[in-house]
């Protein structure tokens, strides 16, 4: 995800619209373009709001019902805003067997949010995802592009705090 993946809507709306139009324009004559368009559109503000999906449906001349079906089918697409730090815990078979459920409980408690939600300040979102292909490290979690493996519940406090501190630093600079 790009640097603009923030849920506070800090980018100028006009720019976002132009960007979306540009993405749709790029794929307008390509067959099977829906998934790449959704991927790129999601980079604009980190998720796919209703207005964006309507625009994509109209732009690619694909029924909204189909677009919505695809978006809800794949976990990498989100209809809800995501946090600055996207916590994704793998719930694939290997991770599940290795105790991912306990990690998930700990994450919910630590972040104070449920799966699929975003914290009120927009800093963290929590998702349970499907296999990320690092079964050797099970149970695995990703926070943005960082991977954490062989987790035990006790690791969670430290990892989350690290990101909380990063957030503070960023805010201080701003």
């Amino acid at each position: 995800m790009g640097a603009n993946s923030c849920c506070c809507g800090c980018i100028d709306e006009k720019l976002q619209e132009d960007r979306l139009r540009e993405i749709i324009g790029k794929y307008i004559n390509t067959k099977g373009a829906l998934i790449p368009v959704l991927h790129e559109a999601q980079t604009i503000n980190g998720y796919l709001p209703e207005s964006v999906l309507k625009e994509i449906a109209a732009g690619l001349n694909i029924p909204l019902a189909e677009v919505y079906g695809v978006v809800t089918f794949y976990t990498q697409f989100s209809l809800k805003p995501k946090g600055k730090f996207k916590v994704q815990l793998c719930m694939g078979t290997a991770c599940y067997v290795k105790g991912a459920e306990k990690i998930l409980e700990k994450l919910k408690e630590k972040l104070g949010i449920m799966v699929g939600e975003c914290s009120e300040d927009g800093s963290f979102s929590l998702d349970a995802c499907r296999c990320i292909g690092a079964c050797g490290l099970a149970p695995v979690m990703m926070i943005n592009d960082d991977v954490y493996g062989r987790l035990v519940p006790e690791d969670i406090d430290g990892i989350i705090e690290k990101y909380r501190n990063m957030q503070d630093v960023v805010q201080d600079v701003e």
Partner: protein, 891 residues
């Protein structure tokens, strides 16, 4: 062809069939929960698993094509076990409430669980717990019973092409929903109910007032009475009530219905139905016996005929009644009363088609069949709001688009189909002829016309080329209010297509230049060689269920059955011999002339069967004045309509479900209508009433039933010559069907035109009779909405339809609305030179600036108080589509 063996039966079938389809040919039924005939298989339920020799795994028979030498087993222990497993899994989240489930007895899951002995699921775990969505007036959705077969989503997206339903999420939480999980009642759902019809379980269910069990009902196959498409369907009857409707795999509808066909059956058993003959005494209706009223009518007919001559009597037959009834009606007037003064509402819809196409091609009907639409390359829709007025044809046009057909729409309103169109031309109302001439100008200019075809099969081309020469896209763009380049694009798209079909309706016909409009459509099609060809043609979409048949049966003042002219001596001689009477040889008067004549005192008696001119005819104030001026008015109907209230005698007739007969749909297909119920009270079938009245008037001929009337029709009407009830049992037949061994005609003018050569007519654009001016500055155009039929005598009694479409409204463009300071819901007074009405504003860009659309269905705020009765001089059709109005704020 491919040969294979299924359960030891050797069969040969065409390539491309799947195993399940091939098995059906030899009456081997393979279970399926997700497969729908005619739709690419979804292969989601896997219960259709079969064994194929040489393949290690079971295969899904709905998704596996047959191949040469294939050996299939549809029954074995292994298959049985596999199917049980499927059912076991499906049942794991399905409520076991068959005791109270409305679907019980008609549920595929229940049937298969019984067949495969699955009592409960062995998988115990989480169950679904969704709220029931009952926001749609006609059906509810209980997701907890959904088995995720996807049939509903397939039908919604690929057959109805409405895209309301989708599959949402995945895994255990997968469910059918609308985009963003909105309620169905707030979605873009058009309530066609086709999802309900295909749901194999009790998830999508019709709402029903009457509680019934499937095994308490019987089914009667018949034809829908709501429009000219002619959808075949089954009425579900419990006792003496219709409790539901299921679509049949009819040739016109292919298993689809629309909201009216599927859900608006309640008018049949409505308490308002007329049950006894009524006689008006001192302005008040009193009940009377049949004998009394028929005596009075016969007496008045004789008296008036004696005093003023047969020309002072006139009748309006009905496009809602059967062919047999229309035949008897015109026979009553011609043979018994002695006048050709018989007409019906086709005068108000497609009289210009009948006249126009008869002149250019020799036959005034849809040239091609509905099912051919699917294979068109280009579909040009003009002056037809197909998805609302002919919903099941609208759906098939959209299916064609999914198959690759390219669509052109030319219509003053941004109708739903315009969204499917590659080119949409928002023309000004009444400028069709200019547009067609403009397109022909481009086609000839760019050499896109079919020169060989023109040479071999047409006449009058030079004249046409001369006429259209001056209609340059620039000039036409100016007249029609569209971009000249769009005219060019449309012309090229149509001109270059191999198989291009034109679909038109009242946007072309209901003008004072309606016949010219129709001839102009015919010119365009002839120019590109599109007539006499499959999946092409000129296709007037007929409005009412049997308006084609009513015309065919001679409910027209100049035509005997089969369009044999009343002034043609040979025809007359034939009918005189058959009917045993002398017949009048002068054409009678049209609907509009009857009303004008009544006002002047030339027409003294009218008999109106199943029509409601007090809503449907132009300039209602004038209609009322005319009907009141009559000496005697008889109205035969199923409800006490606005027109019936003015009558001296009202005769209670039968609804379509209460009689046998035939309807001829818009594609010339004669189909059987079957009696499912007895008429209420003392009401009688229209044909019986007519027969008894004729007897009272001294004409002794009796018929044992409608089939005998059809035999008489067949004997006198060449195009119906080979039609009989025994043949119709096997399915509808498209006329012309001259002999008993003739299969009927799928598309007309194949080798040559009915009139010999296709005739090009030189047609110039002429403005509408009344255009906006400073006093009446806005242009009014009228039309239909999906949720009502004609004058609402039937649909106005359906609660759900009234919930969705309760009242009259006026569509007004935002710019106009702004100027007049109107907003959504503002009450306005709309007036024309003829009358005024009050209605409510709907601000929308569906119409252009200064154009106003009002549907004609509603008695309260009836658009026809405003419309102009100026008529087309050839066909006598009034100009419903254009008149000048003014608008004032009324609150």
């Amino acid at each position: 062809m491919v040969s294979l063996t299924i359960d030891d039966k050797k069969i040969t079938v065409e390539e491309g069939l799947t195993i399940i389809q091939a098995a059906k040919r030899v009456n081997i039924e393979i279970p399926s929960l997700c497969y729908i005939e005619g739709v690419e298989s979804i292969a989601s339920c896997r219960i259709c698993a079969v064994e194929v020799e040489g393949r290690p795994n079971l295969v899904a028979s709905c998704a596996t094509p047959v191949s040469e030498g294939m050996v299939v087993k549809t029954n074995s222990q292994r298959i049985y076990d596999a199917r049980r497993t499927v059912l076991d899994l499906v049942l794991s989240t399905h409520p076991l409430d068959c005791l109270t489930c409305e679907k019980a007895g008609n549920c595929k899951l229940q049937d298969y669980c019984y067949e495969y002995d699955v009592k409960v699921s062995s998988y115990i775990g989480k169950k679904n717990d969704y709220p029931i969505d009952d926001t749609n007036p006609f059906y509810y959705f209980d997701k907890n019973k959904c088995i995720l077969c996807r049939r509903c989503v397939k039908v919604c997206s690929e057959l109805q092409c409405n895209n309301t339903l989708c599959f949402s999420e995945r895994g255990f939480v997968t469910h059918v929903s609308t985009p963003f999980e909105g309620k169905l009642g707030e979605s873009n759902c058009v309530s066609c109910g086709n999802c309900v019809s295909v749901c194999p379980v009790g998830a999508l269910m019709p709402k029903s007032r009457v509680k019934f069990r499937t095994w308490e009902t019987r089914q009667v196959k018949t034809v829908c009475s709501f429009c000219g498409v002619g959808c075949e369907m089954y009425l579900k009857i419990k006792g003496d009530r219709i409790v539901g409707v299921a679509p049949a795999m009819g040739p016109a509808n292919k298993g689809l219905l629309c909201v009216k066909g599927k859900f608006a059956y309640g008018f049949v058993n409505h308490p308002d139905r007329l049950k006894k003959p009524l006689v008006k005494k001192d302005g008040v209706f009193e009940e009377a016996t049949w004998d009394e009223v028929l005596d009075i009518i016969a007496d008045r007919i004789s008296g008036i005929r004696q005093k003023y001559g047969p020309q002072s009597l006139a009748g309006l037959s009905s496009a809602k009644c059967t062919n047999e009834e229309n035949y008897l009606f015109q026979k009553l007037f011609r043979a018994v009363i002695g006048t050709n003064n018989v007409d019906h509402c086709a005068r108000l819809c497609h009289a210009s088609t009948v006249a126009g196409l008869a002149a250019t091609l020799g036959s005034g009907a849809m040239t091609n069949s509905i099912e051919e639409t699917l294979n068109s390359d280009v579909i040009f829709v003009t002056g037809s709001n197909t998805t609302e007025a002919h919903p099941v044809i609208g759906a098939q046009i959209r299916q064609a688009r999914l198959k690759g057909a390219r669509i052109i729409v030319a219509d003053p309103r941004r109708i739903e189909l315009s969204k499917d169109a590659e080119i949409y031309l928002q023309i000004k109302p009444g400028t069709n002829v200019a547009l067609f001439n403009g397109m022909m100008n481009v086609i000839i200019e760019e050499g896109l016309q079919d020169k060989e075809y023109i040479e071999a099969r047409t006449e009058g081309y030079e004249g046409l080329a001369d006429t259209v020469r001056s209609y340059t896209p620039e000039r036409v763009g100016e007249i029609c209010g569209v971009d000249p380049d769009d005219i060019r694009k449309a012309a090229r798209l149509y001109g270059k297509a191999d198989r291009a079909g034109i679909f038109y309706s009242m946007g072309v016909t209901q003008h004072s230049t309606g016949t010219q409009g129709v001839m102009s459509v015919s010119n365009l099609a002839l120019l590109c060689g599109n007539i006499g060809k499959e999946s092409a043609g000129v296709n007037p979409l007929r409005g009412q269920n049997n308006v084609q048949g009513a015309c065919d049966m001679g409910s027209l003042p100049g035509d005997l059955p089969g369009y044999q002219k009343v002034f043609n001596p040979q025809a007359l001689e034939k009918f005189e011999a058959a009917w045993g009477v002398k017949l009048p040889d002068k054409a009678g008067v049209t609907v509009t002339e009857m009303l004008a004549g009544a006002e002047k005192g030339n027409i003294r008696f009218m008999y109106i069967m199943g029509e409601n001119p007090m809503i449907s005819d132009p300039d209602i104030n004038h209609v009322e004045k005319s009907l009141k001026a009559l000496d005697f008015l008889v109205v035969q109907d199923i409800f006490l309509t606005e027109t019936a209230r003015l009558a001296d005698i009202v005769l209670p007739a039968s609804a379509f479900a209460e009689k046998d007969g035939t309807f001829t749909n818009t594609e010339r297909r004669v189909q059987r209508v079957r009696k499912a119920l007895e008429p209420p009270g003392e009401a009688k079938a229209d044909w019986q009433i007519l027969m008894e009245l004729m007897k009272k008037l001294g004409y002794e001929k009796t018929y044992g039933g409608p089939s005998e009337i059809m035999d008489e029709i067949a004997g006198l009407t060449p195009s119906y010559g080979g039609i009989s009830y025994d043949r119709l049992e096997a399915g509808g037949i498209q006329w012309p069907c001259p002999t008993r061994d003739h299969p009927g005609t799928k598309y007309l003018h194949k080798e040559s035109f009915t009139r010999g050569k296709g005739l090009f007519k030189q047609i110039d654009y002429v403005e509408s009779a009344e255009l906006p001016d400073s006093e009446y500055p806005y242009l009014l155009t009228t039309g239909r909405v999906l949720y009502h039929y004609h004058t609402r005598t039937m649909t106005g009694r359906i609660e759900g339809l009234n919930r969705i479409s309760p009242e009259s409204f006026a569509q007004i463009n935002p710019v106009t609305a702004n100027r007049l300071q109107l907003s959504d819901g503002s009450r306005i007074k709309v007036s024309s030179r003829r009358g005024e009405i009050f209605t409510k504003v709907r601000v929308t860009d569906v119409v252009e600036e200064d154009v106003v659309f009002i549907p004609f269905h509603f008695a309260d705020g009836a658009a026809n108080y405003l419309t102009n009765s100026a008529t087309d001089p050839i066909a006598g059709i009034p100009e419903f589509k254009v008149c000048a109005i003014k608008i004032e704020k009324a609150d």
